[in-house]
């Protein structure tokens, strides 16, 4: 396995299980633990890996968070394009993610809050007034079926017989 293959293999494992340890990854890939540790450290330093996250199904949490996808149309700044506006939007703690998009809107933000009203107020009072933001369209998420590649419905039951020769 060459360096590029090792990196991709490590990333594939971590993408499915962010809590996998270097020892576990080394066992799965049949590589020395030191090699795996060094590769993960390098990727963290180069911001290829820039964080690890737990996936939470907030619908199962009482008073859990709610979220919305916000379409944002912006006016690009001379000499800076969309970067300045994007940076300003990203500074809002409520914005969980922000991407430049093709299609009918310039940017798409994922926003989280404790209630639909909280999100609506955030959009009206903090997001829309940002210099360069021309218009917003808010789509509240009503139900999540799949997140980050993981189905949120009840775990499929293994129907196989426990022992088959």
């Amino acid at each position: 396995m060459n360096g590029g293959d090792t990196m991709n293999a490590i990333l594939e494992i971590l993408a499915k299980n962010a809590t996998a340890t270097s020892e576990q990854i080394a066992a799965i890939l049949n590589r020395p633990v030191e090699e795996v540790r060094a590769e993960i450290k390098r990727m963290e330093e180069e911001k290829i890996i820039f964080g690890r996250k737990v996936l939470i199904n907030w619908e199962k949490v009482e008073n859990g968070m709610v979220s919305a996808l916000i379409e944002i149309n912006v006016s690009p700044q001379r000499g800076e394009g969309f970067s300045k506006v994007a940076e300003r939007i990203c500074r809002c703690a409520e914005v969980r993610s922000l991407s430049l998009m093709s299609g009918g809107c310039d940017m798409m933000a994922e926003v989280e809050g404790h209630s639909l009203k909280e999100i609506a107020l955030f959009v009206a009072e903090q997001l829309a007034p940002i210099d360069g933001v021309l218009a917003t369209t808010t789509h509240f998420r009503l139900q999540a079926y799949k997140t980050e590649g993981v189905m949120l419905s009840a775990k499929a039951v293994d129907e196989r017989k426990a022992i088959t020769l």
Binding site: N17, Q24, A27, I28, L29, D158, A162, I163, T164, L165
Partner: protein, 390 residues
């Protein structure tokens, strides 16, 4: 005279499973983690399922030809050539209800009462009973850990008599994960080539070979005519429940297998056959995806056993690991029963696959990595406890 007394004595004589008590205990433990499952944990890829569904929607609900759909047999020929460089015509292929039916039909066609059938063990449990039901005499070839459970020429040569009719070659192997590579087969061919012995090559795990490409004994010109290759869709395409397999071989052998097949089965399930066409024609990527995942788990489980100090040769095929537990001084049955009771992990005693499996246990890695990890942690704890008690 009781009803039982009037049953065919050959059937009655086939011994019941040696691990039936183990099954009874496991039945009481639905929450146990099982590394005892001998089928893929993947669902059949959607495009294959869809092909089956489409065939039903189109009304393909009738019998097919006894031989199997002509279109499927063409796809099988193309697949065997593409994946294993084996050339067959459609009249050399029969579609069966799983590889299991092909194995049974092949033995019945080739063996007369009294013929000897050589069976390397440890191996899958069906060969001996099928030989007995055909009136043949099964003879066990005990393979060894020091040979990585490969069939060696010495073991084979010692077992051959003038009654030997058929050699079963079950590689890649269940339960050991052993494979036979080019140089291993050359030595076997050197012994067989001048003898009138046929080979039943059970290659159901052929796609799950992790070093190089699977080599079939049928690829040797000296053995091509006398080898029946049995394979199927259960393991490569995660189609266990579809019950579909096939055999490829000399047209005269296959024609006779069709005769046996047609009277007992009529034809393999039609829906499964249409799904199989899609699998063979468009499923190569699915095989590679599943194999890649199995390979990662293989490393994980082998490294796990090595870390706990249990000797284990590297399995290069199928989805089984076969560690040796002899150092703990307890039998395979006791190891597995106690592990199940104390740690709620189910694995299979090696002697379920033949007496030469005593002292070993079969662990399937056809299950999710997090289950494998939990199971390994529990097995390690159990092993350490047994060592401390020892």
């Amino acid at each position: 005279m009781s009803i039982l007394d009037q049953i065919n004595p050959t059937v009655r004589a086939i011994p019941p499973s040696g691990i039936r008590k183990f099954f009874e205990i496991l039945d009481q433990m639905p929450e146990a983690i099982s590394l005892g499952i001998g089928e893929p944990d993947f669902v059949t890829p959607w495009h294959i399922r869809e092909a089956g569904i489409r065939s039903l929607e189109s009304g393909h609900t009738y019998y097919t030809s006894n031989w199997g759909l002509p279109r499927l047999r063409t796809s099988i020929c193309n697949y065997m050539k593409r994946r294993f460089d084996l050339s067959y015509d459609e009249n050399q292929v029969v579609v069966t209800v799983g590889g299991s039916e092909a194995i049974d039909a092949c033995i019945r066609v080739l063996c007369q009462p009294g013929d000897e059938v050589l069976i390397p063990e440890p191996s899958f449990v069906c060969y001996r009973p099928c030989a007995l039901l055909a009136g043949a005499v099964p003879k066990v070839l005990e393979t060894r850990e020091e040979d990585q459970f490969r069939l060696t020429p010495e073991i084979l040569e010692k077992a051959i008599t003038d009654k030997t009719k058929l050699l079963v070659l079950p590689y890649p192997n269940n339960p050991t994960g052993a494979i036979m590579e080019q140089e291993d087969l050359e030595k076997i061919v050197a012994i067989l080539k001048d003898k009138n012995i046929f080979v039943l090559s059970d290659e159901i795990y052929a796609e799950l070979t992790y070093r190089g490409k699977h080599v079939s004994i049928a690829s040797f010109p000296e053995m091509y005519e006398r080898t029946v290759v049995v394979s199927g869709f259960s393991k490569a395409y995660a189609m266990t429940g579809w019950r579909l397999g096939f055999a490829c071989g000399h047209p005269d052998i296959i024609q006779m297998m069709v005769k046996v097949h047609q009277f007992g089965i009529m034809s393999a399930p039609t829906t499964s056959q249409y799904a199989a066409i899609e699998a063979l024609d468009n499923g190569d990527n699915d095989i590679e995806t599943m194999k890649k995942e199995y390979n990662l788990r293989r490393h994980m489980i082998v490294n796990g056993f090595r870390e706990m100090g249990l000797p284990i040769f590297e399995p290069l095929g199928a989805f089984y690991a076969f560690p040796c537990i002899k150092s703990l001084g307890i039998s395979s049955n006791d190891f597995c029963t106690q592990l199940l009771q104390e740690e709620q992990v189910a694995i299979i005693p090696g002697n379920a696959f033949g007496e030469s499996g005593e002292g070993f246990v079969r662990c399937s890695y056809a299950t999710a990595t997090d289950s494998i990890q939990v199971a390994l942690d529990r097995i390690k704890r159990f092993v350490e406890k047994k060592r401390a008690e020892g």
